[in-house]
């Protein structure tokens, strides 16, 4: 069964026929070439396939492609603009949060969504927000540091903005 769907991937409009049997992960990887999202289990357990649907992290392996109709999809390929890494990507590089890199795109997407939400989170809350990603290489410590680094920056810049507003 085929269905025509329209959605955006990294701000590009896409209109295509998908097989109702396909997951969003398979469409992104095999039909559209966004191979940044990885498959580590195919059943929602590992988080390697995480992408943002309307800015919310989801496991794209257990999300049917037809469900993406009308949605805004973001993958790791859409983050860096003109070769300039985002704060989250930079933090992952600088903190040594990357080893084999297979879990990395998913974790970067979840962290990006967290940063964009702009809430102040405790260390335990950050851990909970990242707990849907397995990483076998890093023991998570440097990943946590990377996430904390960009979340703290956000909080700082939010505070900065507030001060400015009051000043006005």
């Amino acid at each position: 069964m085929l269905k025509r769907i329209s959605f955006t991937v990294n701000e590009q409009e896409v209109s295509m026929e998908v097989d109702v049997r396909e997951s969003l992960l398979e469409v992104l990887r095999n039909r559209l070439g966004y191979t940044g999202a990885k498959k580590g289990c195919g059943v929602g357990e590992c988080g390697a396939c995480t992408v943002l649907v309307d800015d919310t992290p989801i496991d794209s392996c257990i999300y049917l492609a037809v469900w993406a109709d009308g949605k805004k999809i973001r993958t790791v390929e859409g983050l860096a603009k003109n070769g300039e890494l985002t704060e989250v990507q930079k933090a992952f590089v600088d903190e040594g949060a990357v080893q084999c890199g297979f879990c990395t795109p998913g974790l970067i997407m979840t962290t990006t969504a967290l940063v964009e939400r702009g809430e102040k989170l405790s260390r335990e809350e950050i851990k909970r927000e990242l707990s849907g990603h397995f990483c076998r290489c890093t023991g998570y410590k440097q990943i946590l540091h990377a996430a904390e680094k960009c979340l703290n920056n956000i909080c700082k810049s939010n505070e900065g903005q507030q001060v400015n507003r009051e000043d006005n």
Binding site: N30, G44, V66, R128, S131, H133
Partner: protein, 298 residues
């Protein structure tokens, strides 16, 4: 082309509830899919083959959380666990449900998994179930012709089996003010991992105090203590009117086991689960007492 696909033969998307009920009435053999976090997994493992799916996920009217004039809380079955955990009404009135919601899966799962799917899937390990049992939740089940309301205590028929008649959809989960106002509660999910895990035991306890030092009402909902989620009536009966003390609470813990039907599996032995019931019911109750305005019991 290399593409892993789900074994789906037919797929329909309902725009609104009427259309969903209509479609289901015409073809009751369709499998309803909401978040899909149970349905797709079953397909992956070959437990559902050649699936014929009716998606209800775009029915906006089933996703809301409302508080009626009489402060009855209505939870749409499509409310995701993330939504539940962040909803101001739920946070204020049913904090125990927030605990349950946050104990479930991981963030990406919570972002799509729905409370309706959690219940209708019929698993004894469903993390929302013990709490909804303790809250005496009532389920609104609609078909094209009918609507009935079933207490959640009667909804579970066996492992993976619930009282959904052909053509029926769960359209609301209702919680009466009498079942949550003045109560303190606590949900303990006992599992090996702190996230991404299925409960070895789920313990939801709510209580109301009388005069500050006696139990007016204690409710204990358990998951994975039997083939379905269950309530511990004998322990609850015993508690009524008793002075809040370590001894009373210990006895409640011991009595709770009487309502359980735990079994031994490779995940945990019956003996261990029963031991956990005794211990964790006490722990949950002690926290619930404090949240109900009582004093802390060591």
């Amino acid at each position: 082309m290399v593409s892993e696909m789900y074994d789906i033969k037919e797929y329909y998307e309902a725009k609104n509830l009427e259309q969903a009920l209509e479609t289901l009435a015409a073809d009751p053999g369709l499998t309803v899919v909401a978040g899909g976090t149970d349905v797709l997994i079953k397909m992956h493992h070959g437990r559902i083959e050649k699936a014929r799916l009716l998606s209800i996920r775009r029915i906006a009217s089933l996703a809301g959380i409302t508080v009626g004039a009489d402060v009855t809380i209505g939870i749409g079955p499509l409310a995701t666990f993330t939504r539940l955990s962040r909803d101001e009404q739920i946070k204020e009135n049913l904090p125990i449900l927030v605990e349950a919601a946050l104990s479930m899966g991981g963030p990406q799962i919570r972002n799509v998994a729905t409370i309706g799917g959690n219940i209708c899937n019929g698993a004894t390990s469903a993390d929302s179930a013990p709490t909804l049992f303790a809250l005496n939740a009532r389920l609104v089940l609609k078909s094209k012709k009918d609507e009935r309301i079933v207490p959640i205590n009667e909804f579970y028929l066996g492992p993976g089996k619930v009282d959904l008649l052909p053509g029926e959809i769960l359209t609301e989960i209702r919680i009466d003010p009498a079942d949550y106002r003045g109560f303190g509660g606590h949900y303990i999910k006992f599992s090996m991992r702190k996230a991404m895990d299925i409960a070895t035991l789920g313990v939801a306890v709510t209580c109301r105090l009388a005069g500050g030092d006696a139990f007016a009402d204690v409710r204990i909902g358990l998951g994975v203590a039997g083939p379905t989620p269950l309530r511990c009536r004998e322990a609850e009966e015993f508690a009524r009117g008793k002075v809040v003390s370590a001894e009373t609470i210990a006895e409640i813990g011991r009595l709770a086991v009487k309502s359980t039907r735990a079994r031994t599996s490779w995940r945990a032995s019956r003996e261990y689960r029963e031991h956990l019931v005794v211990e964790l019911v006490q722990r949950a109750l002690k926290t619930a007492v404090v949240r109900a305005g009582g004093v802390e019991i060591a």
